[in-house]
């Protein structure tokens, strides 16, 4: 697993930790939750641990398709894949484009594309992939998912030490969810506007401008 990024400024880290303790509000101590850098400094600075939660589920609710919702993940997926772990896509609604992903540094042989015939199969495959230590991240697009299933996937992600990403329709933002992190994604002229709707152990309610358009491979 990649290392935990060192927070810039120890005071800031202390403050975040205090805030995290308040937010947890009696929840079992998960202060030492791992996170892995998103590759976007403006986003890392506002997520607990400094990045995507490892061993947990994050939900992304995008207003529209094609606003950079996948580009937001490409840096972390590329880093995991280059570190030798696999990235599983469970029944994506569109075709991941190999040349585009390769340009952004994702080794295609680390990509697993899994087709399913039903929502039930998708959830099953997501859980299996999350539990497998060889898998670094799992991306799912469930049309519909209940809290119990999210909790199940969360446990699977915890067991496998992987990053679980669920793309959910924008309407899902109206309901609550046990996911560790919930982000709403809005189109923005320069990149993507990321609204932190829920962040276990972190600050909520912020909207950040993230420069996803600038993610060009070196």
């Amino acid at each position: 697993m990649s290392s935990i990024p060192v927070p810039t400024g120890s005071q800031r880290a202390q403050l975040l930790e205090q805030l995290a303790r308040l937010c947890r509000n009696g929840e079992p101590n998960r202060a030492s939750r791992l996170a892995t850098s998103s590759g976007f400094p403006e986003l890392d600075a506002n997520l607990p641990g400094g990045g995507w939660p490892v061993g947990a589920i994050a939900e992304l609710m995008s207003d529209a398709s094609g606003i950079g919702e996948l580009s937001l993940l490409v840096p972390v997926l590329s880093r995991l894949a280059r570190a030798g772990r696999y990235v599983a896509w469970i029944a994506p609604p569109y075709l991941p484009y190999g040349p585009g992903l390769a340009q952004r540094g994702l080794p295609l042989e680390r990509l697993l594309l899994i087709q399913t015939r039903s929502l039930q199969e998708s959830l099953w495959a997501t859980e299996q992939a999350l539990r497998c230590p060889a898998i670094g991240a799992v991306l799912g697009w469930p049309a519909y998912i209940v809290d119990r299933s999210v909790r199940r996937l969360q446990l699977a992600a915890e067991a496998g030490g992987s990053l679980g990403i669920l793309y959910r329709p924008p309407e899902a933002a109206r309901e609550s969810s046990p996911a560790a992190l919930r982000l709403r994604l809005h189109a923005a002229p320069e990149g993507l506007a990321v609204e932190i709707q829920k962040s276990r152990g972190g600050a909520c309610g912020l909207t950040l401008q993230v420069g996803v358009a600038a993610t060009v491979a070196a």
Binding site: D63, G66, V74, P96, Y97, P99, G100, L108, L112, E121
Partner: protein
């Protein structure tokens, strides 16, 4: 002869227990056998053949006998040091027998006849030297000898009660008085005469059949007997020191041709637990064409086991195994071809710049210089109205004149009303605008 050591396994309820796997209850099985609804001899023979293959993992000389038993022998002298001593080996064998669901009594002795005798002699069933054997046999009653009732009665009326009393008599006197067969048996018992046993021969391919006494309609009911078949199969693979990439489960039906499934693995394997996991996934989505009267496990091709030792090489190989296990499970449940990877292809036409690939196939990366491409593509370019807002472009792509699929296109990034960034092109040859990708 002197170095030989024989393990004998007595299986007093082999036929009932082999059948009990299907009816779940030994009492029912016993009733079925008593009512001659099933052919007990055939069931016993099939079960013993499977057990012989299973036993081959510990010994290259396996032999069995069905009458007066059933008894299964494993010659161990050559292999005993491999398994951490007799006690550990016996414990291992007994634990697997319990998992297989067979009642058993094991004994170890320098001769096959003595090992068979000791399975019925109560405590202390392991003796390893002829001297030890003699003192172990001496106090035992004559009734334990594998001799006919007439001979036993004759011995009794001659005033003999214990085996030791008989062994003190000269061999020639015994032969004269009770018959040469009795004398030979006693010499074989003590290991002083050779006792060649028909060696069970391992078949070149594996085929194990399991007959149900009642038809099975539900795939979950197949799992219990399947577990046993797979454990025995694992023993066979260990015995041959090989592994498989696939095996077949055939389901026999009454008055209908057999159906079946093939369980495939991405890497050679011989682990019963892994096999069962994959078989279970496959059975879950399987619809049986008719009730099942018998189950057959078959493997025709085998690979060397050396590839299994990858885990000695540490983390990477272990991770690879975990991944293979995942891929096999996904494929078993979702179907072949549902788990794929991608690779790039050297072609300037975007729709031909990629291909599906088999997971874990290392791929060459063609060097196609191009402007930044989107992360997602539409399955087919879709005809659209001329976009209102173009953010960048054009990028001219002209290609394919050599294979008849020639294109001349100008590519742009356009913005849709909802803020989505689209990858569009204008077809310069035929005219018209098309949407081909999304900047997700």
């Amino acid at each position: 002869m002197s170095a030989a050591l024989w393990l004998c396994i007595r299986l007093p309820r082999l036929a009932q227990e082999a059948l009990a796997a299907s009816v779940q209850q030994a009492a029912d099985a016993a009733a079925s056998i008593a009512s001659r609804a099933v052919d007990a001899a055939a069931i016993e023979h099939a079960a013993m053949e499977r057990l012989a293959a299973w036993a081959y993992q510990w010994s290259s000389l396996v032999s069995y006998q069905l009458p007066d038993g059933p008894l299964l022998w494993l010659e161990l002298a050559a292999s005993r040091s491999l398994f951490g001593g007799h006690a550990a080996l016996l414990a291992n064998i007994e634990s697997e027998l319990s998992q297989l669901g067979y009642s058993h009594a094991c004994a170890l002795a320098p001769s096959p006849a003595a090992a068979a005798l000791l399975t019925q002699a109560g405590q202390q069933r392991c003796v390893t030297t002829p001297v030890e054997l003699r003192s172990r046999l001496e106090p035992l009653p004559l009734a334990l000898l594998a001799l006919s009732d007439e001979v036993l009665a004759a011995l009794h009326s001659a005033g003999l009660r214990r085996i030791g009393q008989l062994l003190e008599l000269p061999a020639a006197a015994i032969a004269r008085r009770f018959g040469p067969a009795v004398s030979l048996y006693l010499q074989r018992l003590c290991g002083t005469a050779s006792d060649p046993r028909p060696a069970w021969r391992m078949p070149a391919t594996y085929s194990a059949r399991f007959e149900f006494d009642a038809e099975v309609h539900d795939t979950t009911a197949l799992l219990f007997p399947l577990r046993r078949l797979l454990l025995e199969f694992q023993g066979y693979l260990r015995g041959r020191d090989c592994a498989v990439l696939r095996f077949t489960l055939a389901f026999e039906h009454y008055r209908q041709p057999a159906s079946g499934v093939t369980i495939g693995m991405s890497a050679p394997a011989r682990d019963a637990a892994q096999f069962l996991l994959l078989a279970r996934e496959r059975l879950q989505s399987l619809v049986l064409p008719a009730a099942v009267s018998a189950l057959r496990l078959q493997a025709l091709e085998f690979t060397a086991a050396s590839v299994l030792q990858a885990d000695f090489f540490g983390g990477d190989a272990q991770q690879l195994q975990q991944l293979q296990l995942l891929l096999d499970r996904l494929q078993a449940r979702l179907g072949d071809g549902q788990v794929r990877s991608l690779r790039q292809q050297a072609d300037h036409r975007p729709e031909r710049g990629w291909r599906f690939a088999t997971p874990q196939q290392s791929t060459a990366r063609p060097d196609v210089q191009a402007a930044l491409r989107p992360c997602t593509l539409l399955p087919q370019p879709r005809r659209i109205e001329a976009p209102a807002l173009l953010l960048s472009g054009p990028e001219r792509i002209e290609s394919g004149w050599w294979d008849g699929g020639d294109v001349t296109r100008d590519y742009y990034v356009a913005r849709a009303a909802d803020g989505a960034r689209l990858w569009v092109f204008q077809d310069l040859a035929a005219g018209g605008w098309y949407l081909q990708g999304l900047w997700t």
